[in-house]
């Protein structure tokens, strides 16, 4: 078996990091940051938490290249979904009133 066994302390560290991230996102949610910074901070923390879960709890860090490709393809298609939709909605008012 060439399966990689993630050591216990890494699981515990990730678990604690996720809890800290949750506390941080709640704290940041109540602070009034300038502009769209509240959204950016909330999403950044969420992306970091999700990345930790994917890499360590879901073992992607230790998985084959093929798993990487498949997971990245999801992000790629998601980016297409968002980019094409918003290229419509966010530009509708550029050519006159709407």
């Amino acid at each position: 078996m060439s399966e990689h066994i993630v050591p216990l302390r890494i699981y515990v560290a990730i678990f604690l990091a996720l809890l800290v991230g949750t506390a941080l996102t709640v704290w940041a949610g109540f602070r009034d940051f300038p502009g769209q910074l509240n959204v950016i901070i909330a999403l950044t923390i969420a992306v970091i938490k999700a990345t930790l879960v994917v890499l360590y709890f879901m073992h992607v860090r230790y998985s084959s290249r093929l798993v990487w490709v498949i997971f990245t393809s999801a992000l790629f298609w998601l980016a297409i979904l968002f980019a094409l939709t918003f290229s419509d909605y966010w530009t509708r008012c550029w050519l006159g009133p709407c």
């Binding site: 078996m1 399966e3 949610g29 498949i70």
Partner: protein
């Protein structure tokens, strides 16, 4: 050649299917299949996240008002519960990998319990929304939607508050359905784990169910700040 291959096959684990060369290949194939399924799940939830982003950018005041009415405390507790359940799930896989059967069953049991706790808290939240007339539309004819319990920020309209609750119930509802399926899956896995089916050589079903469970956790990691927290600062800070 064919003989030596079949002898090798027989010498390996009983769980090895005939169309795989060895346990490693079988495990890889299973994991890969689960990831392909998870990609479709990401796209499925992605569509709802898209709807959320679109309407939130169009009606930020209404979305902030409606979002502030949710209980961030219950949302935060549920986030903690789910993260803890993801940890116990990871521990169940780990226990299988190192061959600790008792720990494996205990961890799976804990994961199921935490999943049910999450669903229980979710039910309390849904009931609060029902009492406050915040179930969108006229799903409950005697409790039609009425935004009067929501403190509307300047520029927020009741119709758009209702839009937030459509999205809230669609997203958290689909998430809850996934949780229920996950609890069902893990119950089956726990039954087989208790009978000693999974060990260091064979634990693909535990691993794959774990992938699903972690995915559902990740969806919530995004749902919590987006639905419960964005807009808080408009009420409290500003």
């Amino acid at each position: 050649m064919a003989d030596s291959a079949s002898i090798e096959h027989e010498a390996s684990h009983a769980a090895l299917q005939h169309h795989f060369e060895n346990m490693e290949q079988q495990r890889e194939a299973g994991t890969l299949g689960m990831w392909v399924f998870l990609v479709t799940e990401i796209m499925f939830f992605g569509g709802m996240f898209l709807a959320y982003t679109l309407y939130r950018s169009k009606y930020p005041e209404a979305f902030a008002s409606a979002s502030n009415h949710l209980s961030w405390q219950l949302g935060a507790i549920n986030t903690g519960v789910l993260i803890f359940s993801s940890f116990t799930m990871a521990m169940a896989v780990y226990s299988a990998q190192i061959g600790k059967r008792r720990n494996q069953v205990v961890c799976l049991g804990l994961t199921i319990l935490l999943g049910l706790t999450f669903l229980g808290i979710k039910a309390i939240e849904y009931h609060e929304k029902y009492v406050d007339h915040l179930i969108p539309g006229k799903l409950f004819p005697r409790n039609p939607f009425n935004a009067s319990t929501v403190h509307l920020l300047p520029g927020a309209s009741a119709n758009n508050v209702e839009m937030f609750y459509w999205i809230y119930f669609a997203m958290t509802g689909m998430h809850a359905v996934h949780m229920i399926i996950g609890v069902g899956l893990l119950s089956v896995i726990m039954y087989f784990a208790a009978r000693g089916r999974y060990g260091p050589e064979y634990h693909a079903p535990v691993e794959i169910s774990g992938l699903y469970w972690h995915f559902v956790d990740i969806v919530w990691i995004f749902l919590f700040p987006l639905l419960y927290l964005l807009g808080r600062h408009l009420e409290h800070g500003g």
